[in-house]
Symmetry: C2
């Protein structure tokens, strides 16, 4: 059996049956194997960043890895930003990078570069297959590695001759790591910390399921502890019927305010909070002075069981306070971020998957979504923008029976807009609300915050301001989406947005709604 | 003076006065410095791969580096593929990667990653500035380093606090390396090699100027040596009035045929030829058995002077045979690759810069362009597709008085299509001929060539074939270009293509012509 066929067949046996791909010549035998192993679903992307972001979104919803097929070092480079986000999410992703045939490496041909050096910066596991007899077992080790550390990227470098040579055999799947149980010592320390006058539980990573948040809600009801959600959760089951939780603010000042007065901070699946960027004169560590930090569960732990155990230790029979369903339609009129958010919340389908790369609009969306129908939110975990549309694509592949809603800032969308084409080809049920404010609005805010312009409000009239401006020309997202085969509408009023959302949800396949929303900055 | 201001002011003094940028929060002080140093021209890109590809194109035309401003590791990742191409071109590029403030690194904030590990894979020089007092002198060392080895990428990692801190002073430019003169020994060896019965001179890198090719033409006239041009030249002055030269073929079989019988191969700025990819049973080294390989000049050498010296040694007063101007208009009818090529050649403006990422269409374009009006060709040097539109953008910034023509394959265009927006914003005189065959046509050829499907002609009807197909849906490039603010027309006949080319050349600013050309495969 050829190496590529043994590889693909073994992956399917290991439950890796989706491959997001942007292949080249060195991957032709892998591609050909898709004809031999029909249970592997190949999903073509026009750009590697779409493929890697889709694998991240897929993993977060499916709870298991998809494969990503990339073409040598440049293909890996193009996919690197969204692998960075996957790394920060702790998403299991199997990255397969095709490489020159083993005997061709000595020629330093034009596409030769140091693949493993780049791969190591995002992967917990990297290996180059050296012989066709190893390819299936190497792949099984890679799949198993994706489950380590609570989920990580594993990269298998696949020389072309390993794919095309005969002599491979399939290999059986290996056991995958389960989340670690939290130790009795950690549980006791967390219970102790809850006795502090102002205890805060920061929920993140694997804790943000309905089970995890319900347990946290019971703890809060019993102890008076405050609950916060990490700023960029990888997977959060939220909305009506779940405990009402606020996110830790993005800007350091907001987060410092929220944590002010806390005597203890209990980490449940989240990391200790730090500022996203450093700013002159602003602390990077957001934990208040004198506040004790206790880890109940880290990203590799079974945070849900840990929270339930903690609830049993500290709780009476108290019941968590749950968010009601309250999402009234906004009245007619020109759109702003608040009415846009209300319209999204009012029309949100049950069990939707909401992919949030809304950046400056997020502040308005968060409270509106708290009381929208129950849904899952996927956030941009690593700060590498251009993740929303690809992640929505992968989430839709993972859950064909659930509507996916991408809340997408304009500047970020333009990094990986090619995701729309994959949505069209695969007829994925994704509704993109493209929030068009014609600017890198977040950077306008940051320009002032970093003190870069030395004033309270940035002067945007000169060459510097022009670098943060997306007008002249303003991208026409309706034309762009149509060009990629996705039906699109442009709306400027709440009534038109509501109608467009209903249109998008009613029809199968992808849709894009370009919502013209003045920048709040 | 703040670090960012000293940095930007020093760059301008060192003749680096264009910065292709896709900045984020950590680069806000650099952006702000654009207001303080108006001689630095900031050119915004919507995606980093556009910025890095533009810097490559700029360098090839201007002969000096532009700066590229990127945002942390993910920004570098997004720009990596076109930095790979720049590395393979030997283009001088100054890459500035903004990073977290020095004191913020310890928090491992979401955007933290190993920037230098990634940068080293494409850069000849990498350094992280550690103190604001060093930033301007570090930048001057980086600029000087871009000239080493005949041209390379130099990467300066710029922590945010280095940019925002006071205490910097400007630094004077450092001397830059000049091309090495070729040694008398190399010259003598080359002259000896020319006495072989069938001598071939392979021209590449710095040799492909009018001066270099004229000297090569004299040598050929005097000695009967055959002249070939490397497959993917970084910069080639060609067309009517220059020696008529064929490129070495892309496919190994073609190149082996061209080199068959050669007793000596003289390298003038080119590397010894190797197959682009390895294939089962095809040699990777394309030099015929028994053929002596002699390096007259490598990429870091003064290849033009070396060729002139060699012409003086071996020549009588023989005159090079020059290509005539012969570019008749094709007759009316449906487009095919041949008539498309003829239409481009017939209408090509004088002194045009032709950026060639035409892939499968290149075989038809090459002979047509040989006798078109004199022009410069820039090719895809590193095989990382998605370089054409960005390089055309940078070339147009470098030469505002010259028309730029991008001959662009469809699949490759979709990697970095955002370049069109920068062309629109800067009103660059770029005409893109988008060759739409609705397929990764080159991969259909490669699928058969690699023997992946085990047959003479690939079966493209199954899942494998679907991964090489860009229809369902076919991207509408006219809509996409319009969405980015570039006027566009779709043509299916030669008469419409001729009219569209004249329209595009007559109007200032960028235009895109979507030429529907059936795949030759």
């Amino acid at each position: 059996m050829k190496g590529a066929e043994a590889l693909v067949a073994s992956l399917v046996e290991a439950d890796v049956d989706v491959c997001f791909a942007n292949p080249g010549t060195s991957e032709m035998h892998f591609v050909q194997a898709l004809d031999e192993v029909p249970d592997m679903r190949g999903v073509l992307a026009l750009f590697e960043g779409v493929a890697t972001g889709a694998a991240d979104g897929y993993a977060r919803i499916a709870g298991r890895p998809a494969a990503v097929l990339l073409h040598l070092g440049p293909g890996l480079g193009n996919g690197l930003a969204n692998l960075h986000n996957a790394r920060r999410a702790g998403s299991p992703v199997l990255c397969i990078v095709g490489a020159h045939a083993t005997g061709h490496v000595r020629f330093d041909a034009p596409l030769q570069s140091d693949i493993t050096a780049v791969a190591r910066t995002v992967s917990g596991w990297v290996h180059t297959t050296g012989d066709v007899r190893d390819v299936a077992s190497d792949a099984m080790r890679a799949v198993a590695a994706t489950a380590d550390q609570g989920g990580q990227v594993a990269t298998l470098v696949l020389p072309a001759d390993v794919s095309w040579s005969e002599g491979a055999t399939e290999a059986p799947p290996l056991p995958r790591a389960e989340p670690f149980p939290t130790s009795p010592e950690r549980l006791a320390a967390a219970a102790d910390a809850l006795r502090a006058p102002d205890a805060v539980i920061l929920l993140g990573g694997p804790a943000l399921t309905a089970r995890g948040t319900a347990a946290a809600g019971r703890i809060a009801a019993s102890t008076g502890a405050r609950l916060l959600v990490e700023t960029f959760p990888r997977y959060w089951e939220t909305g009506a019927g779940t405990p009402r939780l606020d996110k830790l603010g993005y800007f350091a000042e907001q987060a410092l305010d929220q944590l002010d007065g806390a005597h203890s901070l209990i980490l449940a699946g989240a990391r200790s909070p730090v500022s996203f960027f450093g700013y002159p004169g602003v602390p990077g560590d957001l934990v208040p002075d004198g506040c004790e930090v206790v880890t109940l569960a880290d990203a590799a732990s079974d945070a849900e069981t840990a929270l339930e155990a903690l609830a049993d230790v500290v709780g009476g029979g108290d019941v968590a306070e749950l968010a009601p369903h309250h999402a009234p339609e906004p009245g007619p009129g020109p759109l702003d971020v608040r009415s846009m958010a209300a319209a999204v919340a009012a029309t949100l389908p049950e069990r939707a998957i909401v992919v949030d790369e809304s950046l400056t609009a997020a502040a308005a969306l968060a409270p509106a979504l708290q009381t929208a129908p129950a849904h899952v939110q996927l956030a941009l975990t690593g700060g590498a923008i251009g993740q929303g549309l690809p992640a929505a694509t992968g989430a839709a592949v993972a859950a064909p029976d659930r509507p996916v809603v991408a809340l997408q800032a304009d500047g970020s969308a333009l990094y990986t807009l090619q995701a729309l084409w994959t949505q069209a080809r695969e007829q994925l049920d994704v509704t993109t609300v493209l929030i068009n404010n014609s600017a890198y609005a977040i950077l306008r805010v940051e320009m002032t915050r970093t003190g870069a312009d030395g004033s309270e409000s940035a002067d945007l009239s000169g060459p510097a301001g022009r670098m943060l401006d997306l007008s002249a020309p303003t991208p026409d997202f309706t034309a762009l989406a149509t060009g990629f085969g996705v039906p699109a509408r442009r709306v400027e009023t709440t009534e038109d947005l509501l109608a467009a959302l209903r249109w998008a949800y009613a029809e199968p396949g992808p849709h894009l709604i370009e919502a013209i929303v003045p920048s709040p900055a």
